[in-house]
């Protein structure tokens, strides 16, 4: 690694995202309970959630934090348990980051009224 503190900065990033996500996970669970009170279909869930700009802000932040946090954890698991080389683990993690971010923001887009097709 060019920067000897690279790993430590990622470590810091993962801990900070974890701290920020802790209350958001609770908010997310509450939203699930609220959104799935009755019928469990995309249309009925969106009917309850789509009108709230607050949820768009909340989930945009949540998606970004998850996209950073989860690949960092998976990167360590790949290295320690699956013996994936650091270079490959870095590349897979970047792909996971982009994947989580893309899929997550696509979901948030649906909250704004964008279609889910």
């Amino acid at each position: 690694m060019p920067n000897p503190m690279f790993e430590m900065r990622l470590y810091l990033l993962q801990r900070l995202t974890a701290i920020l996500m802790l209350p958001m996970v609770i908010g997310h669970l509450a939203t699930i309970m609220y959104a799935t009170r009755s019928e469990l279909t995309a249309a009925s869930i969106l009917e309850r959630t789509q009108s709230s700009p607050w949820l768009v802000v909340f989930y945009t932040g949540f998606v970004i934090l998850v996209s950073i946090h989860a690949p960092l954890g998976l990167r360590k698991i790949m290295g320690e348990w699956l013996r994936v080389s650091p270079k490959l683990a870095n590349r897979i993690s970047v792909l996971l980051f982009l994947g989580f971010l893309g899929l997550g923001l696509r979901g948030v887009w649906a909250l704004t009224g964008g279609t889910m097709s």
Binding site: P4, M5, E7, M8, Y11, L12
Partner: protein
């Protein structure tokens, strides 16, 4: 007289367990048993020991799967009629119960273990208040004698070759809390680098295995906290 079955690792990284039978005695340690096998049954058995009384730390081996000082482990306490004895985990094996500890020792250096001082012999001795918070923290970590038991107990060491391990990081922690140490920044940089404290999973195996009850887990947690604070503070150490 009843007998004890002892399964002892023979060979290097490639090898197998060999069974021996030794008389069960009223008082015998695992080291006594290994010595008895070597003296009475197979003189080619290789193992290390020096003091026999828990001072030097050279007799550490895996006993029934756990790293222990064999001189301080009574057979009676194992409550088992079969005792399996293997060389310390996470180190290359040289022969039988003897491991190559050079990689373990090298990691101490990589963790910035060298004490640096700006003082010389003309200066008066440094006055360190034993009740100061920093000194208390250093004292809690400082009794380590490099036996390698915690290194053998650590799963992260077994997964990640670059990880410096609990003993080396515990040493780094005692140094950064030593107010006489002038190389704190260098020690901190080493301890929070790629193989450093951030790799620890806080499983606590090192703490559970330490024969003298030290807690490298706590030391590493201290290093993590210190390094996060220094990164958040905008500097690298």
């Amino acid at each position: 007289m009843s007998h004890l079955t002892v399964r002892i690792w023979r060979g290097a990284d490639e090898g197998e367990f060999q069974d021996f039978s030794v008389p069960m005695r009223e008082n015998q340690t695992v080291l006594d048993v290994v010595s008895e096998v070597q003296r009475t049954q197979d003189q080619s058995l290789s193992y290390r020991f020096a003091c026999r009384v828990g001072v030097c730390g050279s007799c550490a081996m895996m006993v029934n799967g756990k790293p222990r000082w064999t001189c301080r482990t009574h057979i009676r306490s194992l409550k088992s009629s079969v005792v399996t004895i293997a060389p310390l985990r996470n180190m290359p094996r040289i022969k039988d119960l003897v491991t190559d500890m050079s990689g373990f020792i090298d990691k101490w250096g990589k963790a910035g273990n060298v004490f640096e001082s700006q003082r010389d012999r003309g200066d008066a001795p440094a006055l360190v208040d034993p009740s100061s918070p920093m000194r208390k923290v250093a004292d809690a970590a400082i009794e380590c004698i490099n036996c390698g038991v915690c290194h053998a107990a650590c799963d992260v060491v077994s997964w990640n070759d670059a990880y410096l391990g609990p003993a080396a990081l515990n040493r780094a922690w005692s140094l950064v809390n030593d107010e006489r140490h002038s190389g704190k920044k260098e020690t901190m940089m080493a301890a929070m680098g790629d193989g450093g404290c951030g790799n620890c999973h806080s499983q606590g195996n090192c703490m559970a295995a330490c024969p003298i009850g030290l807690s490298p887990t706590r030391s590493i947690a201290g290093l993590k906290k210190m390094s996060l604070m220094s990164l958040l503070g905008g500097s690298d150490a």
